[in-house]
Symmetry: C2
Subunit: 359 residues, 2 copies
């Protein structure tokens, strides 16, 4: 059996060869922005980093050497006052979750498009405000689910949509990492429930959730869940480890785990009536993704060139803006994850199966 | 890093080189007995099949050619009357689940040891009777969890016990197969709730359950679950597909799936604080098992000689009897699975987290 994967990493979304350049202001200059986003944009065909926006002027100034295109380093306050707004077309929001909303508000006011990190915000209410803001505005807001432009995930979605593994029946997915070894700071914002809304479900659990939604092309209707913690640093936020089941229409289920206190690992698997597709490793930009399909008793391992997930995401976002295409996932899509994660925490508290609210 | 796996398939339980031979009566001559058990015993060092016991004399007689050691073919009724009892030392019970109890009763009465297929029985009450019978008797009853003598599973247990992957945090496990393609009979006993007690949790789901218990060396305390069915053949029994979460003490969890209506697949994974051990394929005798460990960012794939799981199990059982060692897993151990599966069905019905009763 042949799978049509000669062009595994082809950007199936790309219609224009040279659509131009989008100038981006990076909001929040933490390690992800410095070590992942800015380097990815340097490799990007359609994006330049031109402005850095930080709560600390020192942090912003220090980072200006990370790309030759950077023209301005300003504070959050200066950003909200519209400073340097002539120097960027769009913003990338990578602050703690609970600070996303005001930056989206200012961007909408200034007429700047938005690539907003996931989760959209720290609470459903604040995320809902982002959805309302976008609905009433001409700016484009994309939620930064880099899995949706990851070639392995897009090919898995095609495999499922084409019926190559029959009807999907069950999903397994995990994303885990040792957070306190990576960032040995007990005061980091992910451990502050007011800033993050949750440590593990919100930061890692949404990869299984959103990837399952994207690959199955279905939204879950109910969840079962349990969160726990071992380390004292997770006492305020509660969820160091999370195990949850997503229940989709038609009896499809996803058995998911996430942990900020375990070995770095990730996988995503869909078992169907006629076969199986597995991505492993799945979710980390820093680990080469693996892809395999099993059908008819045979297993096919697909070797493919790895891409930088952040470059793919920025290029996709910019390509949409430059070609007048609505970028996806939009705020409405991201909001379903917020509702799902709220249901996960609720199911955990109540020890019950909880239905996911619709908007 | 070196793993001490030169003797991966070494029978770490074997103390005697040539302990003798146990003569076994096979009870229930369905496809598993004919195609798996009897051939496995032919390869076994310490077991001979000497008697076949079937509900149908024709079925028993037809199978006598499967091994040269077979001396008698008798009916269930004849067995209960003690016929041919001088020709066997122990019985292997491989009938529909709801028929296990009377054979164990007769074996106890006749002073014959028992290897009883899992699940022990179709209901907790009947399984409880088996536990009571064994407690009051000198015969040994072992529940036939072939995973506990599968070398890959035993090595995984050692890896966990030695702390090589740190503290276990999360387990993923699945076992699925297309039952109606394998046995295209809508009247088969697995689909009759009175005979099976359940189609998928009872027949396949107990592999994830029991293997998690064995490898973690812990018993679950609560479960969350959902079962569903697509095909009309599963309407009476209910569970064509099952997804369930086992909650262990200390916050360890196992995200499990099982399906009688999906692609044949199985895996078992433990993610710990310092690493991960994965068995894939895991549970089918007919598929070569795979074994790998990841620690310190490195992945080690262990290639090892495959064994016949049924031969291992029969030899282990016989070796215990011949050396005066109590075989394990015993009825008490198997009963915890019965309680766990009852809790799974209960959690499904009630849409709640359900605590597992203790005896």
């Amino acid at each position: 059996m042949e799978f049509p994967f000669e062009d595994f990493t082809l950007r199936d979304w790309q219609t224009a060869e040279d659509p131009g350049t989008v100038r981006v202001a990076m909001i929040g200059i933490g390690w992800w922005t410095r070590e992942q986003a800015i380097p990815a944009v340097r490799e990007s065909a359609f994006v330049d980093t031109t402005v850095l926006v930080s709560g600390s002027m020192g942090k912003a100034r220090e980072a200006t050497g990370l790309a030759p295109t950077i023209e301005h380093a300003i504070t959050y306050e200066e950003f909200h006052n519209g400073e340097a707004s002539e120097a960027y077309d769009a913003i990338y929001v990578c602050t703690p979750n609970a600070l996303h909303l005001p930056f989206v508000e200012t961007a909408v006011r200034l007429g700047k498009d938005v690539l907003c990190e996931k989760p959209m915000e720290a609470t459903v209410d604040r995320a809902s405000e982002i959805v309302d803001l976008t609905a009433d505005s001409d700016v484009d807001v994309m939620i930064a689910y880099r899995m949706q432009t990851e070639p392995a995930v897009r090919r898995a979605r095609e495999v499922v949509a084409a019926g190559l593994i029959g009807d999907p029946v069950q999903v397994h997915a995990n994303m885990s990492q040792p957070l306190l070894e990576m960032i040995p700071d007990p005061d980091q914002w992910r451990l502050d429930p007011d800033l993050s809304g949750g440590a593990t479900v919100m930061d890692l659990g949404l990869y299984p959730i959103n990837t399952a939604r994207f690959v199955l092309d279905k939204d879950p209707v109910a969840v079962q869940a349990r969160t726990t913690h071992d380390r004292a640093e997770f006492e305020d936020v509660g969820d160091e480890h999370a195990v949850f089941t997503l229940l989709f229409p038609d009896g499809v289920s996803a058995a998911c785990t996430a942990s900020q206190g375990a070995y770095k690992s990730s996988h995503f698997r869909v078992t169907g009536t006629e076969g199986e597709v597995v991505i492993e490793p799945a979710f980390y930009n820093s680990q080469d993704r693996g892809f395999r399909i099993s059908v008819g008793g045979e297993r096919y391992d697909v070797d493919f060139p790895q891409v930088d997930q952040m470059t793919e995401e920025f290029d996709y976002f910019a390509h949409c803006l430059l070609t007048g295409t609505e970028p996806y996932p939009d705020a409405e899509h991201g909001f379903v994850d917020m509702l799902t994660m709220e249901a996960v925490y609720d199911a955990d508290r109540r020890d019950q199966t909880v239905e996911i609210q619709s908007r």
